[in-house]
């Protein structure tokens, strides 16, 4: 475009192509490894086969870990939807003392390294004498999932005029009717998108989970343990491909639902620490 000669444009194009290769060759490799017929994880593969798919599917430990992850994800998402949207409403509608501080605290779980959140919850759980269970995993996950819903709903509310609510009240609707027929339709897609992102985040989370699961295995912990010990790798290869799909599909749907607010751009926090909404730091 402007300010770049023809040669520098070509050079930049080549650079961009190299970056695409850097980003996507590993993803292509992980897809190929799922079809590795051998027990040994060396390259090149001796052909492609789906022989490990059924043994991965029938692996009892894996199934158990998978269902634990699904249950934790659904529960954490439900809590996050309720608490996250309440917080977003409060912070959006009202100016009150300590509002900035509160919005800062809500994004803290994504801004702080996951290890600090995890360790804090771990020592808190031990200190309180509670034993590790599904509940402790859900508590850990909900704490950072709330932020995702909060960010999504807040962004949508900021694009909505409060006069809609005032008009509804003027026309005689009570609070519940206004919420049901005016507010909810406006934020519905933001809620669905926030829920999908929260689930994807929870399903893939490992750092906080390691600290709050005790001896239980969620799917990422099962994968991590096997990789570290070099066990069941052919099955891990298959499961890992499946995990990529499970995390990407909700995100793709969420992206469609919030195209106008473009929320995915502000994701930050990783899987180790997805700092989504660290934009609130200022």
């Amino acid at each position: 475009m402007i300010g770049a000669s023809r040669w520098s444009r070509v050079a930049l194009g080549v650079w961009a192509a190299l970056m695409m290769a850097f980003l996507f060759i590993p993803i292509a490799i992980i897809v190929l490894y799922a079809f590795n017929p051998s027990n040994v994880q060396s390259w090149p593969l001796d052909g492609l086969s789906t022989k490990w798919f059924s043994s991965a599917w029938h692996n009892a430990e894996m199934r158990h870990a998978f269902w634990l992850s699904v249950r934790a994800g659904l529960l954490a998402t439900a809590i996050a939807l309720a608490l996250g949207s309440m917080a977003a409403f409060a912070v959006h509608r009202f100016r009150f003392f300590g509002r900035e501080a509160i919005s800062f605290i809500f994004v803290l779980p994504l801004a702080l390294p996951g290890i600090i959140t995890g360790m804090a919850l771990n020592s808190f759980i031990t200190f309180a004498g509670v034993s590790f269970s599904l509940t402790t995993i859900v508590i850990g996950h909900a704490t950072f999932c709330i932020v995702v819903v909060y960010n999504n709903v807040l962004a949508r509310l900021r694009r909505t005029q409060t006069s809609l609510v005032e008009a509804s009240m003027d026309l005689g609707a009570d609070g519940w009717q206004t919420f049901r027929f005016v507010t909810l339709p406006v934020i519905a897609t933001a809620l669905v998108a926030g829920g999908l992102l929260a689930f994807a985040l929870s399903f893939d989370e490992i750092v906080v989970t390691i600290f709050t699961a005790g001896a239980q295995n969620t799917l990422p912990i099962w994968i991590f343990g096997n990789i570290r010990l070099g066990q069941q790798l052919p099955q891990v290869n298959v499961v890992v491909l499946f995990v990529i799909l499970v995390t990407l599909i909700p995100v793709a749907l969420a992206q469609r639902l919030t195209r106008d607010t473009g929320l995915l751009r502000s994701r930050a926090r990783p899987p180790g620490a997805l700092p989504q909404g660290t934009g609130q730091l200022s």
């Binding site: 402007i2 770049a4 490894y33 917080a87 605290i105 750092v207 890992v240 934009g279």
Partner: protein, 313 residues
């Protein structure tokens, strides 16, 4: 006017007296509507209680416990105040090495990602046609949202002795490069994992850069490189600073990547913290060590703020 006298859905005026419960609900709505602080308090009570009673309480307990100690015999927490944990951090050379390694690799990863991302974002925003630009944008988001653990695992496969990298290097006539399970591997993998976090803020910085500035610079006789150095770069610097917050902070707090792709001498602060919480059962020492990345990050944020990073997030 009485609020219960409204217009019905069919457009006819409602004159019939509404049920008592409905009147009560409208009264309650009106009370809430007129008292915003009451609504704020009601709305904030549940999420506020969650964060204060669970999250903040846990964080406070953690940092208070950094000043406690563990009874060597019973393994129980002893609640008397001591700086012994912090003293140990400064006195034992191994911990200093680990802290410096963590900070050093985090800085190297940040620099690498900035160098990789800057020309890419420039191409995507300023050179690529619109269609290609939106494709590239999705292409950056896909790795960002793919499983973190999976992306670390695939690099373990790629960098291992009989992995893709060595195979490719031998095929083009270069010798095998055995960098699996080393600090080099950690550096490459972190740079890969966090690259999208650097690209996106720089991307937005380029989008905010007005074309007219570049035209003006060219009109005043600056050549391409000069324009880049004196006009473009200073204006996208806040974007780089914003991206560097992510790459630097995320690397500082990680222990999964060093565990999976690092070698014998590749422990990060996070690894020591993890071992002390789990195996060694010394939460006070783990908490004290976790203060180090927090302090480093605090200083880093102050610097990034001066470069305008917060406005560019």
């Amino acid at each position: 006017m009485d609020r219960s006298h409204g217009i019905g859905p069919d457009g006819a005026a409602i004159v019939a007296s509404p049920s008592a419960s409905r009147t009560a609900r409208i009264r309650a709505s009106a009370v809430l509507f007129r008292r915003p602080w009451l609504r704020a308090v009601l709305l904030l009570s549940a999420p506020g209680a969650w964060f204060v009673a669970i999250y903040l309480a846990a964080l406070v307990l953690l940092f208070v416990s950094a000043l406690w100690s563990v009874d060597a015999f019973t393994g129980k927490l002893v609640h008397h105040w001591t700086f012994a944990n912090f003293e140990q951090l400064f006195k034992v050379p191994a911990y200093r090495t680990i802290a410096l390694r963590t900070i050093g690799i985090a800085a190297a990863v940040t620099l690498t990602d900035a160098v990789l991302a800057l020309p890419f974002a420039f191409f995507a925003v300023r050179v690529a046609p619109k269609r290609l630009q939106s494709l590239l944008f999705i292409a950056v988001l896909i790795p960002l949202w793919s499983s973190y653990l999976v992306r670390v695992y695939v690099w373990r496969l790629i960098l291992s002795k009989d992995g893709v990298l060595n195979w490719a290097l031998e095929h083009i006539g270069l010798g095998a490069l055995n960098i699996g399970y080393s600090n080099w591997a950690i550096w490459i993998v972190f740079s890969y994992i966090w690259l999208p976090f650097m690209i996106l803020p720089i991307w937005s910085a380029f989008e905010r850069l007005p074309d007219s500035y570049i035209e003006a610079s060219a009109d005043l006789g600056a050549r391409g490189w000069q324009t880049f150095r004196t006009v473009v770069f200073p204006l996208v610097l806040p974007g780089i600073a914003a991206g560097s917050i992510f790459t630097f902070a995320l690397t500082l707090g990680d222990f999964i990547t060093p565990t999976l792709v690092g070698g014998a001498g590749s422990d990060f602060i996070g690894n020591v913290v993890f071992q002390n919480v789990g195996v060694a059962n010394n939460v006070p020492f783990a908490a004290a060590f976790a203060v180090v990345p927090l302090v480093v990050m605090g200083i880093y944020l102050l610097g990034a703020r001066r470069l305008g990073a917060f406005e560019a997030l």
